[in-house]
């Protein structure tokens, strides 16, 4: 089943040092890393960033195959970005035909852009592979805590996010089940032209929406039965605490970003 193989937001339980890091440390490190990705300018900086990523992957014990599989859905975006960059970057022309001109800068630019996107996606996947959705939303809520001062409903947002994350696998499973049931009645989702395929989705989407609304309703009732009334005065079973390792990891990522920033400033 193709749907079962979707890796979006999937968590691979494990006990590596990366798994046990504080989710906030991982989030901060990821942000630093992404900033660094966009500060890099030349092969040297990308080589350093690649090494850093490879080291974290190695320690995390996540199989590289799983990370490569996560890239499959974005192949189209990668090709699209590459093509746009190759043809639309002004500079020294290498070849031209009709209205298109390929430039040396364009090829380099496209290459760096693709590398950037691949590394960006790999590092976000690494985060979701090694952090359970619950830990992730707890981390986000804690990091966004100061925004409460300016009346941002941080708790509600993170609750919404954890519910959404929680229901992704359920909805995938449900889609799979309805799809199987309709296939058993001879529905065909894989052939025909675009319009036929869109029409073929009706028997899938109608029951899926109905069940999603039913689930939402039941969940709301269940939460009310447990007297849920938002974040005010709510305590947590699992408190987050920074440990020396977490601080070190964040500082490392910060140093990496600053270092790359300096190198980038020199044009490397």
């Amino acid at each position: 089943m193709a749907l079962r193989d979707i890796t979006l937001g999937q968590y691979f339980p494990g006990s590596s040092p990366i798994h046990t890091l504080d989710p906030r440390a991982k989030l901060v490190a990821m942000i630093c890393y992404i900033v660094a990705l966009f500060l890099g300018k030349w092969f040297v900086t990308y080589a350093i960033l690649l090494l850093a990523l490879a080291a974290v992957v190695k320690v995390s014990t996540v199989k590289p195959k799983a990370l490569v599989r996560g890239l499959k859905p974005v192949v189209f975006i990668l090709v699209f970005t590459a093509v746009l960059n190759i043809f639309y970057t002004p500079g020294e022309a290498l070849a031209s035909f009709w209205i298109f001109t390929v430039t040396k800068e364009g090829i380099l630019h496209a290459f760096f852009m693709v590398v950037r996107i691949i590394m960006l996606i790999t590092c976000t996947f690494l985060l979701t592979y090694t952090t359970s959705p619950l830990a992730l939303t707890d981390g986000l809520e804690s990091l966004m805590g100061p925004l409460k001062k300016i009346h941002v409903p941080v708790h509600e947002l993170s609750m919404m996010m954890s519910i959404a994350l929680r229901f992704i696998p359920t909805l995938i499973e449900e889609t799979d089940k309805i799809m199987s049931a309709q296939k058993a009645r001879g529905a065909d989702f894989d052939s025909g032209n675009l319009i036929q395929r869109a029409k073929a989705l009706i028997p899938l989407l109608v029951p899926l929406f109905i069940s999603a609304f039913r689930r939402a309703d039941e969940l709301a009732t269940a939460m009310e039965c447990r007297c849920y009334h938002g974040g005010e005065g709510r305590t947590r079973m699992k408190q987050l605490h920074y440990r020396p390792g977490d601080v070190l990891f964040m500082l490392g990522a910060l140093a990496l970003a600053v270092g790359i920033g300096v190198l980038g400033h020199w044009g490397l």
Partner: protein, 288 residues
């Protein structure tokens, strides 16, 4: 008699190559004959749902074969699709797959997908509505306005309308009240008798399978430890208990009575049978 559908050394492994790897079926040999009423029993997670999804080609075996009338259903793409119409599969809680504006259109979904003409579709919709005991007035209603039991019967009619030679039902009575369950089991029996179709009923109610099926197939941890007529399978009472299945309540009562030295038959599964057995035992006693 030749098997209409069988599996040979069927193995299925979910999420192979990830930490979630799980062997659901392990070299299973299963077969069902034309016109047979068969029940598959096993506790939750034993692999019964995985097995039945192989029977009409919804899941592809990791290894092994699924044969329909002697040919491998994965031989060609067309064949797989044909088999889906020949082996009707009613999922658990099938009412959640309804989507059309009217009951009529929903039942017609399957036959239409088979490419039948309008007259034939109409005939089949009306016939299958009759099989499951839906009044003609219901056909024009929205399926979402019906009661739970009625929805379930509409969904079953949607599969019956494809006139499958093999009808597989995954816990068709789950979550229904006793009279609703009895009606659905009656509908299935009618279909079995009138069309001489092979029925494969998945259930974990021992009373239900003992009453309905001619042969039982027990699934436990992806294998088939026993299969045979109810009396043969229920003779393994203790093993069934350890698999979390057990035997019908009446069988247990009678086994207990027999162990206390009362002269009663062992093959009793239902209350009417128990009544007969007790009455005839009393007659014998009066006679002596």
């Amino acid at each position: 008699m030749a098997a209409i559908i069988e599996t040979k050394q069927l193995t299925h492994i979910y999420s192979q190559g990830t930490p979630f790897e799980h062997t659901a079926l392990d070299s299973v040999d299963f077969s069902a004959e034309r016109g047979e009423y068969l029940a598959v029993i096993g506790r939750t997670g034993s692999g019964k749902s995985t097995l039945i999804q192989h029977l009409n080609g919804l899941l592809k075996p990791t290894s092994g074969q699924v044969l329909f009338n002697g040919t491998d259903i994965w031989e060609s793409k067309d064949l797989t699709r044909q088999v889906r119409c020949q082996v009707g599969l009613v999922f658990q809680y099938p009412e959640y797959q309804l989507f059309e504006e009217t009951v009529y259109q929903d039942i017609a979904f399957g036959p239409k997908n088979m490419g039948l003409d309008a007259d034939e579709v109409d005939r089949r919709v009306k016939q299958s509505a009759r099989f499951v005991g839906l009044e003609p007035g219901v056909l024009e209603k929205s399926p979402f306005d019906l009661s739970g039991g009625q929805k379930r019967r509409v969904a079953i009619a949607g599969v019956i309308a494809m006139e499958p030679q093999v009808l597989v039902l995954d816990e068709p009575t789950a979550g229904l009240d006793p009279s609703g369950s009895a009606r659905i089991l009656d509908n299935i029996r009618t279909y079995h008798q009138e069309k001489n179709a092979c029925i494969i009923l998945v259930s974990h109610s021992m009373e239900e399978v003992a009453r309905e099926a001619e042969r039982l197939v027990v699934i436990h941890r992806g294998t088939i430890p026993f299969s045979g007529p109810p009396e043969a399978v229920f003779a393994h009472g203790e093993e069934l208990e350890t698999m979390g299945l057990g035997v019908p309540a009446m069988t247990r009562v009678f086994a207990r009575l027999r162990s206390m030295g009362v002269d009663l038959p062992a093959s009793v599964y239902t209350i009417p049978q128990a009544r007969e057995a007790v009455l005839s035992a009393l007659h014998r006693k009066e006679g002596t």
